[in-house]
């Protein structure tokens, strides 16, 4: 990496963003990460991981789904009352019961997720776009009545009509939501469709966008950094990429790629990635693939990535 400096200028137009912004990480190791089949964190695991995430410097910790049950609620209470700098987020469907469960745990930052693709709206919940919209309004209102801050999640956005995504974003913005998540729920974007979508979407969207990319084709990291390069403000990641199916965008890869290849700052301290990953892997009963970028043993031994 040392010998590349001389010609750095030649690629600058491609490599470096025009305006230097700071990107914020919304870590979802404790929610989407834990949803990876077979993983079951205890409340203490969750608290330990949340504390470590806070240390590493993430802005938001999506800590769980309180409606799931007592264990989850106990974990949520522990995390909410811990002295963390990061905002702690509870994940909710746009349902009264979900929101009440979150509020009862003391959560004051709620993420409310709605499906936005016609595929999900029609085949999963057998409803209409109008129904989704009215349910979203009611849910945000309910959350706000408890004084909660709200972010909105647009599930399956990558297979949805972009105009409907924008309608949801407009509604969320009107009701003071702080950002909107664009979820590539089955990981079907490429870097090029991603670039195209967000160069069009960012100027039109009234709220800061958070991207949530899945790794079904091995493109989660790339799609995340390309979206951020195109002006997206927040990235959803998990430690070592754990998550549903083939997982999510891994924080280690996203952050080192942003720092090392795009010169975008995330406020994340990469030096303690090793400890954080070890903690999560141990609680997950998993080990890091030796060829995983950044933290895989083959890569660490060769000091391939600057951490």
């Amino acid at each position: 990496m040392e010998n590349v400096s001389i010609k750095d200028d030649t690629l600058k137009g491609y490599m470096v963003m025009k305006d230097k912004r700071s990107i914020r990480i919304v870590d979802t190791t404790l929610r989407d990460g834990e949803q990876s089949p077979g993983i079951a964190f205890s409340a203490q695991d969750k608290l330990n991981i949340a504390t470590a995430l806070d240390e590493v410097g993430v802005a938001f910790i999506e800590a769980g789904v309180p409606i799931m049950g007592e264990e989850e609620q106990q974990a949520m209470r522990l995390i909410v009352s811990a002295p963390l700098h990061a905002q702690v987020i509870a994940w909710n469907r746009a349902l009264q019961e979900d929101i009440l469960a979150s509020v009862a745990c003391g959560c004051s930052f709620l993420h409310i997720s709605v499906p936005v693709s016609d595929l999900h709206i029609q085949q999963k919940i057998h409803k209409s776009r109008e129904w989704v919209m009215s349910r979203l309004k009611e849910s945000i209102e309910l959350a706000k009545s408890f004084g909660c801050t709200v972010s909105v999640g647009a599930e399956d956005a990558s297979r949805a009509d972009m105009e409907f995504f924008l309608q949801v974003a407009d509604q969320a913005a009107k009701m003071d939501a702080v950002h909107i998540r664009y979820a590539d729920t089955v990981g079907c974007l490429t870097p090029f469709t991603t670039h195209d979508i967000f160069t069009r979407l960012v100027p039109r969207c009234p709220l800061p966008i958070e991207v949530h990319m899945h790794n079904d084709f091995g493109l989660a990291t790339a799609n995340t950094v390309v979206a951020l390069d195109a002006g997206v403000a927040l990235a959803s990641t998990t430690i070592s990429g754990i998550g549903e199916r083939a997982g999510n965008a891994g924080m280690e890869e996203v952050v080192t790629a942003l720092h090392g290849r795009y010169e975008i700052d995330t406020g994340i301290d990469v030096r303690i990635f090793g400890n954080l990953s070890e903690l999560v892997m141990k609680a997950s009963n998993r080990s890091v693939y030796p060829y995983m970028p950044v933290l895989g043993s083959v890569f660490l031994e060769n000091k391939l990535t600057a951490i």
Partner: protein, 351 residues
Amino acid sequence: MIWVDQTVNEGLRIGMDKGKIEAMVELLQNIQEMVIDIRVTTWQQYSMPPLNRVQQKQLRGIINGTLEEVELAYTMGFRDVVLTCSPHPGEGLANQVKATLLAAQKREVNMALCIENASNFSIEEVEGLWRDVSTMGVTTFIYSDGNSRLNPLSTFKILTSLVGRIPVDLEFHSHNAYGLATANAVGAMEAGVERIATAVAGVGLQGHTALEEVIMIQKRLLGEKTVATENLSRYCTQILGAIGIEIPGTKAIIGQDIFAHESGIHVDGVLKNPQLYEAFSPEEVGLQRKFVIGKHSGTASIQAKFRQWNVVLSAMDTQFLLKQVRNLAVTQKKSVDDDILWKMYQLRMIH
């Protein structure tokens, strides 16, 4: 599209069993007729006999650019050879590289020239390096991103430009220090490059584009014709098995667990229509869908599980079992096996 394999070379690097080399080459040819890169000096250390006619078509020898190595490659039967080099900025190609190319030309081997640090140079400089050797019989020019400097968009721009400027076959070789190797290969493919270096599950000292990922991206996301994929998972598992590497359960495209669903919302969705939470069907890569019962299970998953056993659960029994399942999953820190779930049900029925 031609995939240029780096998996066997990684196997040799980490000291794979000599007896398994042939089987591995054969397994790779099951996926697609592939060019397989082999470091010539390593091949020699393994005391392999000279290549036979079939192998001459399958294997390509990598050399570092000395006259001795050209001779060694030739003697061992390699008829396709890659000369790799890392030129110093501003100095053009070393005379030694040119001399080696000329020697190879005399031997009538097919020469590929690989600029390992190509991404350190401007497009004009890369073109200049090509012009240096354009009369020396090079039939393939390999642009290698040795230091993992590129991103998908820069790869696309650079290679689009080079496709028009370099009149021989262009090959793209990416490394994976930042997790962008597959995406960068997609950039090269979109730019019209038709030869891509790949390794199964991205293995390699610096990581590579994952073969199974680019195949499925080509098929599913770029809508192009591809090789048959129904046995992709099995072949990839066997190939890595031959060099003693276990594929993680959640490895994209080929991991055993990528069609496992546990969370209530996902199981409920997949039961209604698998497309809701699957980008392609498990059969397409030779895997199976499974429903895992654990901490994140919901009523739909428990009921679906028991329907498989011809039991229709009441709402109350479902709630009871769900609570037990979640408790146990958290206590044992993993999902709940079928036989344990069945025992829970039997105990419930007794009381």
